[in-house]
């Protein structure tokens, strides 16, 4: 990302940037297999077209094969090692050459958030308390070198995650925290074994978890759980040329410059219900200048951006041209921008004082700073659009019809909390990106009710999330009151969205993501219940319970649900935005109408 790995660190990348972690949910786990998006049995493109058409439908559906998909990106993938990548677009790229037991369905919008079997014969078979998950591999699965894929390779891929001194950068803690407290990984402990994962035979794998985890199928859909044959593991260098199990394989990789994929001759469509590739080749070129990148996109030199949307100036140019606008999409990224309100610092230890900030806050101004209507929507609550439990009309602290603030209500809350004339408030920010503008806006809009904002800048912007606002003791030491941040779920479930930022058991001395140190019994117990629940309706209800409890605590002040602006070359076929991969285009299934 640009661009770093943690979800929160994407906040500074600008409104047009769509580097939120794989996000946006709504579908239930499990479910039966489903083929790649249905297309007409014709080489002539058909189906939906127009602005935002790819958000909920397949644009230019066609069965035509051949050609090259030309992708551009402003920054290279963090890694092609499936265990070490954390960029949302790179998870999408991984779908081209990496297969997993489960996978996000190839479908537009919300439908794509469902996980379906990929290499597995069916969804995970769980025991009653969701602590044991069993999967069976389909027959006939092969790597690009022709060797067979076995469950031992999947186990080995998981074992690598424990070698965190070498294999780091990805979301390995989901797996390591569920599977072992003591295992050191296959490098430091080559004679040992991850005993919590067993492979009774080459097609069966059993995961014995140390606590319930109902979303395990989602973990098995992340590239982090991809198979790695031990004989091919080049450890830290594996990302340079990972072995392929999907329909494409890397043919050339020049870090920071370009990557090319060609078809994997040993991939068999008959074994793959997720992917339906059309092109022969995919290229990705790194173009570092955003203006140049936009020009190349509109000129057709590249087909679409892989990592980010176009610049605001280019958005204006596109929407002014009906033809160009018809070939663009403006999806939600699944990323929420918010201010953390630190209840550990007086007078914010009084909920009414925190609520005064909520009412006085000018969300419309923050949306403008972030890039305006094409860069996001005003958020009433924390939950992004496609996560189960999202409620479009839920806004417990309405701040006026135009979202510029309800000053009367804010003053009432100030009186209620014993600070009728307002109070001093320290605002943590980074002196990069939108940080200074956000500070100016917050200073102005809270000043209207007497809350005097003082900016406290993080001396090292790179450690803002880890040791500045990610350290509860630092927050108390600096008497921080508010801090700008952002969040996107790694997998689209309520647990995936809330666990790190709301559960009291996730609070850490440093690198903490529960910035306000929320300790709420309802939140904690509901998240615990979510680890044992797979029923979609109940999951959505529990998601709402968490959402309401968090908003009642008034420790997260959401203001913008991020959107990005993509342009797609009209020659592209079978193109849609997949909610399961962060509402990026589903690259693996895109074709070209001209076969070029």
């Amino acid at each position: 990302m640009a661009i770093t790995r943690r979800a929160t660190q994407f906040a500074a990348l600008g409104a047009a940037t769509a580097l939120a972690l794989a996000a946006c949910g709504g579908g239930s786990g499990g479910g039966g297999g489903s083929a790649a998006p249905s297309t007409s049995a014709s080489a002539t493109p058909s189906g939906a077209t127009g602005f935002n058409a790819a958000a909920n439908s397949v644009v230019n559906a066609s069965d035509k094969t051949g050609g090259t998909l030309k992708l551009g990106a402003q920054s290279d993938c963090d890694s092609y090692d499936p265990a070490r990548t954390y960029y949302a677009y790179c998870w999408d790229i991984q779908r081209m050459f990496t297969r997993t037991l489960m996978a996000f369905k190839s479908a537009p919008g919300t439908e794509g958030t469902a996980v379906i079997p990929d290499m597995a014969t069916g969804p995970g078979e769980a025991n009653a308390d969701k602590t044991q998950w069993t999967y069976h591999l389909q027959p006939g699965l092969k790597y690009s070198d022709g060797s067979a894929i076995t469950t031992k390779d999947i186990k080995y891929g998981i074992e690598r995650l424990f070698a965190s001194d070498v294999i780091n950068g990805g979301p390995s803690s989901y797996y390591t925290s569920l599977l072992s407290d003591t295992y050191k990984g296959p490098y430091a402990d080559p004679t040992g074994d991850l005993t919590s994962v067993t492979t009774p035979d080459d097609t069966t794998i059993v995961f014995n978890l140390n606590k319930p985890f109902a979303d395990f199928d989602y973990l098995m859909a992340l590239p982090t759980s991809a198979p790695v044959p031990q004989a091919k593991d080049t450890k830290a260098d594996y990302g340079k040329m990972p072995i392929a199990s999907g329909p494409f394989m890397i043919s050339s990789f020049q870090p920071g410059k370009s990557t090319e994929w060609v078809r994997n001759p040993n991939w068999d469509q008959a074994t793959d219900k997720v992917r339906s590739p059309k092109v022969d080749k995919v290229s990705l070129v790194v173009i570092t200048d955003p203006a140049d990148a936009d020009k190349r996109l509109l000129s057709g030199a590249i087909d679409t951006f892989a990592d980010t949307g176009v610049q605001p100036e280019t958005v204006a140019q596109i929407v002014a041209d009906p033809t160009k606008k018809a070939n663009s999409d403006n999806p939600a990224t699944g990323f929420i921008r918010y201010d953390a309100v630190f209840q550990t610092v007086a007078p914010l230890d009084n909920v009414a004082c925190r609520q005064a900030i909520f009412y006085a806050f000018n969300k419309a101004a923050l949306l403008r700073i972030n890039g305006g209507a094409f860069a996001g929507d005003i958020a009433g609550s924390m939950v992004p659009t496609l996560i189960p439990g999202y409620e479009a009309d839920y806004d417990p602290y309405p701040n006026g019809a135009d979202h510029t603030g309800d000053l009367a209500m804010a003053k009432q809350k100030l009186t209620e909390c014993g600070q009728p004339n307002g109070f001093d408030l320290n605002y943590a920010y980074r002196n990069v990106g939108l940080g200074p503008k956000a500070l100016a806006s917050v200073t102005e809009n809270l000043g209207r009710v007497g809350i005097k904002v003082h900016g406290i800048v993080a001396s090292d912007p790179a450690s803002y999330y880890s040791t500045f606002i990610g350290s509860p003791s630092n927050i108390v030491k600096l008497k921080l009151g508010l801090a700008g941040a952002g969040w996107g779920a790694d997998f689209p479930t309520p647990y995936g969205f809330w666990q790190s930022i709301a559960n009291s058991n996730a609070i850490l001395p440093e690198g903490n993501s529960n910035y306000p140190s929320l300790k709420d019994a309802t939140v904690d117990s509901t998240l615990a219940a979510l680890t044992k629940e797979n029923d979609p309706a109940k999951v959505a209800d529990l998601g709402k319970t968490v959402s309401h409890a968090v908003m009642d605590a008034a420790v997260y002040l959401p203001f913008v649900l991020d959107k990005t602006f993509f342009y797609r070359n009209p020659r592209l076929t079978n193109i849609y935005l997949n909610g399961g991969v962060g509402n990026y285009y589903d690259y693996v299934n895109i074709g070209t109408s001209d076969g070029m």
Binding site: R5, S164, V166, I167, N168, S172, A236, D289, S466, A506
Partner: protein
């Protein structure tokens, strides 16, 4: 001469050692002391203290600082075998000059620098040819035709390119020649050995951007130096003795006037070899400058440190070369 060069080389080694020490302190010691360990960037969400410690171990950040510095310097001079890569004995060969492994690219820093350097070298050589030939040529002609049309025209040239912001000039070139007239394809760097034509296409706008921007400055300096030299007594003597004007200008005036230019050119070229950051970014040329730009937000400390030391090396070496060349260009200068 040999003693002089040896002395300068020893001085250069001392300078590079100090640069390494300061660089190491700035990038490896200060962040850890302030609690901003780079390990957090590689730990994903909710890293436990154990995970951070494990990653720090992998990065070698858990060793005493003097030992880290000793190993770093040893790596540069003699190579290292102690970097963790997960092998049973925890070793990973990193031959000299070893600047460590990039966190970002998961490769030896030296390999990345070697891979990116040809791009920056190509930019530098082409741009230097333009700015030296155009800058010196315009400056000399302008001085010799002082007050005439050529002088006034060169003044316009100088003013134009000195006042035109290079970032604007670069973007203008890009829009006019790539997206307007479509005379050039969008930049996609291709090595000279692969296709000289595509290599030229990828670099020409970068050369023009740097070349003409710098040429204006060089023209101004050359003009001023030439005017000063042409008014020296020995030039008047040479003319009075009846030497042809061409000989006076070439053998006597230019030689003296261009000596200071040589110093500046040497340093400019050395600076550029360390990375033409702006031009590489605008034209998406994957050289050392772009590598630097990519490494900073990622906190890819080994890359930042390696590039800083390599850039310093270019400047130190350029200084030595310039000093040695001084005596060749101007015999009045003695190496002492």
């Amino acid at each position: 001469m040999v003693r002089y060069i040896i002395r300068r080389l020893l001085g250069a080694i001392a300078v590079l050692f100090i640069v390494s020490l300061v660089t190491f302190g700035l990038f490896m010691v200060v962040p850890v002391m302030t609690g901003a360990s780079p390990a957090y960037l590689y730990a994903g969400k909710n890293p436990t203290p154990e995970l951070i410690a494990n990653i720090e171990h992998g990065l070698g950040l858990d060793k005493p600082i003097p030992e880290q510095f000793y190993m770093y310097m040893k790596g540069i001079v003699a190579g290292r075998t102690d970097l963790t890569d997960g092998t049973a004995d925890g070793s990973r060969p990193c031959p000299a000059p070893c600047f460590g492994y990039s966190f970002r690219y998961q490769s030896p820093v030296w390999d990345i620098i070697k891979d990116r350097f040809p791009v920056t070298l190509s930019i530098t050589v082409g741009a230097a040819i333009i700015w030296l030939s155009v800058g010196i040529g315009v400056g000399v002609v302008s001085a010799l035709r002082r007050g005439g049309f050529a002088d006034r025209a060169s003044m316009v040239f100088i003013l134009l390119f000195l006042s035109l912001p290079s970032y604007l000039f670069a973007i203008l070139l890009l829009y006019v020649f790539v997206y307007g007239l479509k005379w050039l394809p969008p930049t996609n760097y291709v090595p000279l050995t692969e296709s000289p034509y595509k290599w030229f296409q990828a670099l020409i706008l970068a050369w023009i951007t740097i070349g003409f921007g710098s040429a204006a400055l060089y023209a101004r300096l050359t003009r001023a130096n030439m005017l000063e030299t042409m008014s020296e007594d020995y030039i008047r003597t040479a003319v009075a003795k009846g030497l042809p004007r061409k000989t006076v200008v070439r053998k006597h005036a230019m030689r003296a006037a261009l000596t200071p230019i040589l110093t500046i050119a040497g340093l400019d070229i050395a600076f550029l070899l360390g990375g033409a950051i702006f031009v590489e970014k605008v034209f998406s040329l994957p050289g050392l400058g772009l590598l630097f730009v990519e490494a900073i937000p990622k906190q890819d400390l080994p890359v930042i440190m390696g590039l800083t030391i390599v850039s310093s090396l270019f400047i130190v070496v350029a200084n030595i070369i310039v000093d040695v060349l001084y005596s060749a260009v101007d015999p009045r200068v003695r190496l002492s």
